[in-house]
Symmetry: C2
Amino acid sequence: MRESGISVLDELIALLARLPGIGFKTAQRLAIFILKSPDEYASQLVQAIVDLKQKTGLCKRCFNIAEGDYCHICRDPKRDVHKICVVEDIVDVMAIEETHTYKGLYHVLGGVISPLAGVNPEDLNIKPLIERVKNEPVEEVILALNPSTEAETTIIYLTRLLRDSDVQISRLASGVPMGSHLEYLDGATIGMALQARQKIDKEK
Amino acid sequence: MRESGISVLDELIALLARLPGIGFKTAQRLAIFILKSPDEYASQLVQAIVDLKQKTGLCKRCFNIAEGDYCHICRDPKRDVHKICVVEDIVDVMAIEETHTYKGLYHVLGGVISPLAGVNPEDLNIKPLIERVKNEPVEEVILALNPSTEAETTIIYLTRLLRDSDVQISRLASGVPMGSHLEYLDGATIGMALQARQKIDKEK
């Protein structure tokens, strides 16, 4: 690791390099940017980090980010309480919200089952999900996990746990994404899309 | 821009997205990481930013990052005060220091002359450089700017200003970088390398 000779700079670079996707070179560039930026920017940044850590936490019901005990989605009386969309992470809630196509509730698992990475079912928010299905007027649980073998394992695990409840379980459609070119797509995606091919109504 | 519905989160994302090379998606990922990280990490990060802004500034002599009035290189009595290496930015000082091949001093210009981008000679630390050449026992000024047309303009400008002093002016060698393949290199680099070809001593 390259040392700047300035301990406070090296300290900030080392901390920034722990952020996801930020390597040492990028951390260095960010630290130098902060160093040279107006004091106002640095103090806004510091305040925003402090505020985020102090004023927010996880929703007690769905584990989404929340100011207070419950998140803004759980608190919204207009949301459809009969649907729970199960996602891996808070960013997935944001991605789905942006589509403006879903009006139900969420449940953030906090990851997927991955024994190799040391993530077991008890490390995820699975038990609270099962409790919610029992105690809330849920009619459908939509599993919206990022496609991966670990997600498949998690889907099988959750499906077994919910087998005896009379809730409908569904998952995101697999297939070719919008704007893609078959020649550049991986075989697994094309195979999935072929297998899940949709009938075209000739009458329409 | 995607909104999280949480103002303190959106505030941090917006501030992080102002960092160089950090887009909105990355800023979002970083903010969520900070949200979920242990409080200790966030407070270390905040402290490091505060420390960097409060305890460091620019060296009064060479404009490198400094704790106190002068940077650790200017304060080091072992450095060769007869050489000044002129660079664009503080990160360039760090890059050259890492090579352990240069023992002289530095001078950080703060950029290159670029009228199109609104950067004129008076916006850079050029006047202090000329003063240093006059007042310090400088024998050589090494122009180590990042290759670009703006750097060429800056080199011509500095060379003219220093024409009447008896200081030696030099610049980094242009040529093919180590580990490169000619077939993937741009024509300008190959042309430069051909023009500046080095004689091989047949006797060795």
